[in-house]
């Protein structure tokens, strides 16, 4: 069996950044396994701009951002295999993969970095009886068809869900000559980034109807139209609010979900909220030496944060391989997300083991205006930061310092919550 110090599952931005930082830290035996025909992950189909402002101080498109990291991986001579699907990861870090040249093969890894990204939610989004005629696509599939295959799925479009991919595709299909009639969102707020509402919908006069859902689908072979209706606070359609739209295409953009079948198979403990692994300050799962980063850990909207997080995972994996990791001495502090804060990554911190500075990322469960993001060390409030608005569509963060944590030797719980001003 072949052996590597670090095996990275997935060659998207997370996998690439993890590989680069592990190599720079001094580990040479690294292998990236990617099932697609190229490195770069989902970015290859995200042809719009808005990537990399924080990492490169310039605004790049998805493929350009990916190309920068791919170049670093190639320049550093990091090994990778394409067209290679990872089938299984065992508890003792044997990775089973398959490709056409080698068939099924196994690799013994000292550490594994999970970087498999996420997939689109689709099942359950159309919670209505009736036919499923042709013309219904997930927004990401439509994005791949238009941008990579040069194929337009339809001419008259309705979008259900206001996730970023749906918003981006509203503009994209408009450019390609389609008429995007409406974006209907079940929730009273959008799941997408504000900038995408401004420059993908508002710029083109595409209406966004919040608290609306699809209640009827028409057409037998091919979609011919849909009906949307307003929903009440429990998400139930309000009779009398129905509106009909003729359309040949319905795109579903109802969110992303981390792709963790492999992680579960390996026995990695999962968070029911993020659907990603529970990790400590080193981005390490409950299995020692198995790390996670990027969209497989929790869904990100900013690739820059993915790269940053993945860089940390790569460094931590390298430190583990090189035996340089600080020892945890058993001390563990729990992060406690409450009152509007849905989860935190990481969920526990070993202060002895952490870097000098640690970024804790989280999402909120609702829209809050003029609020504070507050941090408590047990019962003592340590900081509060004023925010004009926080929303579920945008990831938030706080920073913790090792020095500070060490100066509280009895600290058990760090609470993060939203407080009204």
């Amino acid at each position: 069996m072949k052996a590597y110090d670090i095996v990275i599952i997935g060659g998207g931005p997370a996998g690439l950044a993890a590989a680069v930082s592990a190599k720079e830290k001094g580990v040479d035996s690294i292998l990236i396994l990617e099932r697609d025909k190229e490195l770069g992950g989902i970015l290859n189909q995200c042809i719009h701009n808005g990537f990399g402002l924080h990492t490169f101080k310039e605004e790049l498109t998805g493929p350009e951002y990916a190309a920068r990291f791919i170049k670093q991986v190639l320049d550093l001579g990091i090994e990778y295999k394409l067209h290679t699907m990872v089938m299984d990861i065992s508890h003792d870090k044997v990775v089973t993969a398959m490709n056409r040249e080698e068939g099924m093969f196994t690799i013994q890894a000292k550490t594994v970095i999970l970087a498999m990204g996420c997939r689109e939610r689709s099942r359950g989004a159309l919670n209505i009886p009736g036919y499923r005629p042709a013309g219904i696509y997930s927004a990401g599939t439509a994005q791949r068809l238009v941008n990579r295959e040069g194929f337009m799925p339809g001419r008259e479009v309705v979008i259900l869900g206001s996730g970023d991919i749906g918003l981006i595709m509203a503009r994209r299909m408009t450019f390609e000559g389609a008429k995007v009639k409406v974006v209907a969102e079940l929730m009273p707020y959008s799941g997408g980034l504000k900038r995408n509402i401004v420059q993908c919908l508002d710029d083109y006069g595409i209406p966004l109807k919040l608290s609306h859902t699809v209640v009827e689908i028409r057409g037998k072979e091919r979609l011919t139209g849909i009906t949307i209706a307003e929903v009440d606070s429990k998400g139930k359609p309000i009779p009398g609010t129905e509106e009909d739209y003729d359309c040949d295409t319905l795109l579903l953009s109802v969110g992303l979900i981390p792709e963790n079948e492999l992680s579960r198979g390996a026995g990695v403990e999962m968070s029911p909220i993020t659907s990603g692994p529970l990790v400590n300050e080193s981005l390490e799962t409950n299995i020692e030496g198995v790390f996670a980063c990027g969209n497989v850990l929790h869904v990100h909207d900013l690739v820059d944060f993915v790269s940053e997080e993945a860089g940390a995972a790569g460094r931590n994996a390298a430190a583990f391989v090189m035996g340089e990791r600080r020892t945890s001495q058993g001390r563990e502090i729990k992060l406690n997300p409450i009152e509007g804060v849905r989860y935190t990554v990481p969920s526990v911190i070993h202060p002895d083991q952490m870097d000098d500075k640690l970024t804790v990322r989280f999402r909120v469960g609702n829209v809050y205006k003029n609020c504070y993001i507050s941090v408590y060390f047990d019962d003592e409030r340590i900081s509060r930061r004023k925010r004009p608005v926080v929303a579920p569509g945008e990831m938030e963060e706080i920073k913790l310092e090792r020095e500070k944590l060490l100066s509280y030797p009895d600290l058990k719980t760090i609470t993060v919550k939203i407080e009204e001003a």
Partner: protein
């Protein structure tokens, strides 16, 4: 005095920015996190611009499309003319990031360039 609420589109953080305008002049920009937000807000109230991204067809390449963008932002009113300038364009592989696909698109003075690499088949 007029106040306008904008969302900065400089990056996906989407900061809420308030611009104060007095007698047609921007006198104050608040709420932005970085300098780009200030630039964006001033421009958005006077001369709004956008970067346009799309794809064109490739012949003889490993992929059938190549992604493109306007090298810098163009006036909002010119977006559709830029998109139109790309219709029907077919390029031959290989294509490299930065290759000019359409020079001076829609008379904006801005080139449309490739944003991905497509090798020959």
């Amino acid at each position: 005095m007029e106040k306008r609420e904008l969302i900065c589109i400089g990056c996906p953080l989407g900061c809420p920015v308030t611009v104060t305008i007095e007698e047609g002049q921007v006198v104050k920009v608040e709420g932005n996190t970085c300098k780009r937000g200030d630039d964006y807000a001033r421009k958005e109230v006077t001369n709004p611009t956008r970067i346009v991204t799309s794809t064109v067809t490739v012949e003889g390449g490993k992929d059938v499309t190549v992604s493109v963008k306007t090298q810098s932002d163009v006036p909002k009113g010119k977006i559709f003319e830029c998109v139109k300038a790309l219709k029907g364009i077919v390029v031959k592989a290989p294509v490299h990031i930065g290759d000019v696909i359409v020079a001076n698109a829609a008379d904006t003075g801005v080139d449309i360039v490739a944003t991905s690499n497509v090798d020959e088949k």
